[in-house]
């Protein structure tokens, strides 16, 4: 009995056939799922990296949603600044008119009423809301920032606080999202409400109008300067939005290189694997039918 001749090669044939079938199935799966990696066991490091990639992509999408929301909110603040500056310009014009020697007392009083009207408009602006929250009350957002108070030297009471809020807009980057009303409208270097209140009083009394007009000019300069905050913030939001869009594209391409299928290669593999499978089946069938001496004995 020869010890190197194996009379039973069926296990070998079957193993070859099973291997060919498995390869063909793997190639087909890659094509149908579009992924070369279909389970953690296929490539543990790639799937571990995929976890981080997916998390980052999802987080970036949320950042973009927040940015969009903040843009709307800051636009409201930005508009208020320009409207408020406009009101102060009107106040200065009225005050200047009232200060001229040719204006009569009753004319001054009429002007005073108009300035009082500006005060009310300013109050309304200072109490602007975004989605139901007061944007100039610091973090005390459920209460109006200012209420009218004739006994106060500024004509208003401030109900908010001086706290600011910051929101994260990309990994590690946050921006301040509000200016406290006290800082904007009651600023010591140019107090908008006090200026308007003083101007109204001066026009009514007939004295100190020039000084009140100067106050109004300072207040105008101050509030005009505050607009810079909104402009800067909106610009930063825009830049970050562009950055995040680009990062999303990068993450997507990175994910493809981690687990994506090379469809051309997979298609080639599938064709070759199917050929191998058929060859294996054919060889197996032929080998099994080779006659032995037994078939020839009569």
């Amino acid at each position: 009995m020869s010890t190197t001749f194996n009379p039973n090669i069926l296990p070998d044939l079957l193993l070859d056939l099973q291997t060919a079938q498995q390869n063909a199935e793997n190639a087909a799966e890659e094509i149908s799922t579009g992924r070369a990696v279909n389970a953690p066991g296929d490539n543990p490091a790639a799937v571990a990296a995929l976890v981080l990639n997916d998390a980052q992509t999802s987080e970036d999408a949320q950042f973009q949603t927040n940015i969009s929301d903040l843009q709307s909110k800051l636009q409201v603040g930005n508009s208020v600044m320009s409207d408020a500056a406009q009101l102060m310009t009107s106040a200065i014009t009225l005050g200047t008119e009232g200060a001229t020697g040719t204006t009569t007392a009753s004319e001054r009083q009429s002007i005073a009423q108009q300035v009082a009207g500006l005060q009310q408009q300013m109050l309304a602006l200072a109490n602007s809301t975004y989605q139901g929250a007061y944007i100039f009350s610091g973090t005390n957002v459920t209460a109006p920032a200012f209420t009218a108070d004739s006994s106060s030297s500024t004509g208003v009471d401030y109900n908010g606080n001086s706290a600011t809020t910051s929101v994260e807009i990309s990994q590690g980057q946050s921006i301040q999202t509000n200016l406290p009303g006290s800082q904007v409208f009651l600023n010591s270097s140019g107090n908008v409400f006090k200026a308007l209140n003083d101007l109204t009083n001066a026009l009514n009394s007939g004295t100190g109008i020039a000084a009140a007009v100067t106050e109004a000019q300072n207040a105008f300069t101050q509030i005009n300067g505050q607009a810079g905050f909104y402009g800067d913030a909106l610009s930063q939001l825009q830049n970050t939005e562009s950055y995040l869009s680009q990062e999303t594209v990068n993450l997507s391409s990175q994910q493809n290189s981690l687990i994506g299928a090379n469809l051309t290669q997979a298609a080639t593999n599938l064709t070759q694997d199917e050929i191998d499978e058929q060859a294996s089946e054919s060889a197996t069938a032929q080998i099994l039918q080779i006659p032995t001496v037994l078939d020839y004995i009569e």
Partner: protein
Amino acid sequence: MGTLLSSLNIAIQSMEANQEALSTTTNNIANANTPGYTDQSVSLVESRPIEYGGMLFGDGVSVSQITSQRDSLLQTRLDQETQQQSSYNSYLGTMQQVQTLFNETTGNGLQTSLTSFFNSLQQLSTSPADVSLRQGVLTAAQNLAQTFNSTSSNLSQLQESADQTVTQTVSQINTLTSQIANLNVQIASASGGGQNANTLLDQRDQAIEQLSGLIDVSQSDAGGGLVTLTTSNGTALVVGNHSIPLTTETNPSTGFQDIYSQGSDITSGITSGSLAGALQARDQSIPLILSSLDSLASSLGNSMNTVNEAGTDLNGNQGQAFFNLPSSGSAGAAATISVALTDPSQIAGSLNGTSGDNSNINAMLALQNQTIVNGQTPINAYSNLVDQVGNDVSTATSQNTSSQAVITQLQNQISSVSGVDINQESVNLIQYERAYQAAAQVSAVIDSLTASAIDLGQAQSVA
């Protein structure tokens, strides 16, 4: 001696010898496809010559022995490799199911609910007093807790399933060792009585090979046709004519089956076979994964609780615990974590007591990037967990494939030694048939000569 009768004797002996050889050949052909069958070969030898009158007279042919073409060393190597491969295969059976729980390529696993939870906090940070956004956070938190719960529960079920496999396998082992002990008895008595024990030897080898598929087996020759079987650690399985059954007992702390032999716990000493694979999955790999999951749930939950308790909620009250967790340690955290807050207003987003302050929300968000889970951030800890699961599977897969290749190679080698070659057997068939026919023909000739001798000197009455 040269007489007609002695010649007839030789012819008859030849017919018997060739008939025995024919019978062995047909048995080989009949068993060509029988698993574990070893090809048997006949040794025909010249019978001892007889001396008479100074001359030696041949005395015909006889069958001296029928031997199995068996290579015990190859069989032992096959048994050992079978033990390894069965272990990898059974381990994979469980771990591939574990893998589906963490298959992030199809979106299964914790990443989505973990990230969504933090995203909901991000959203809330823009409008901390918004009740519907607060509800969004609670909903996302409940989803996260639920995902922890179900992942943990599924892992436990897989452990239980592996545990059932352990019990069934022990029962199969006991059946086989009992069969082998029986075969030991039969082989010993056959060998002792000088009979051909080849078929019984084949059956015993097959049974040992099957046993190797279940547990690590070490085989030694005990003399007189008996084999002794032990585990590789020396626990007796079959000694002589009796088998030592394994039993299972419930472990009081895990609730799973430990394996005992004659009162001793041998569970940790089982090194291969499908039993070892099931034990490794049940007692090592899955507990490690559960422990990582528990760490993640516990660290995240406790950190969120600490932050929430430091803040003020919408009702102006001091924050309370956000999540319900085990009172001490992290064991069971993933299975039991749930959201403790019952109302959106209870999220303590503020540090200065006002509703528009998001400082404490930002503190919750900061947890994402803090190394709160055994020195890792939550998402990194989870990523490493997925890596661990993937490695468990990929390592076992490649070991399994290598082992299968070795087994096929060994089977080929064994087949070369012990396999039935139909062509060889057919040639033998023809040879023995011809020799039988020749001997029969010789008998006929001798018969006619004897008739002639009897008829000598008489009229022919015998033809």
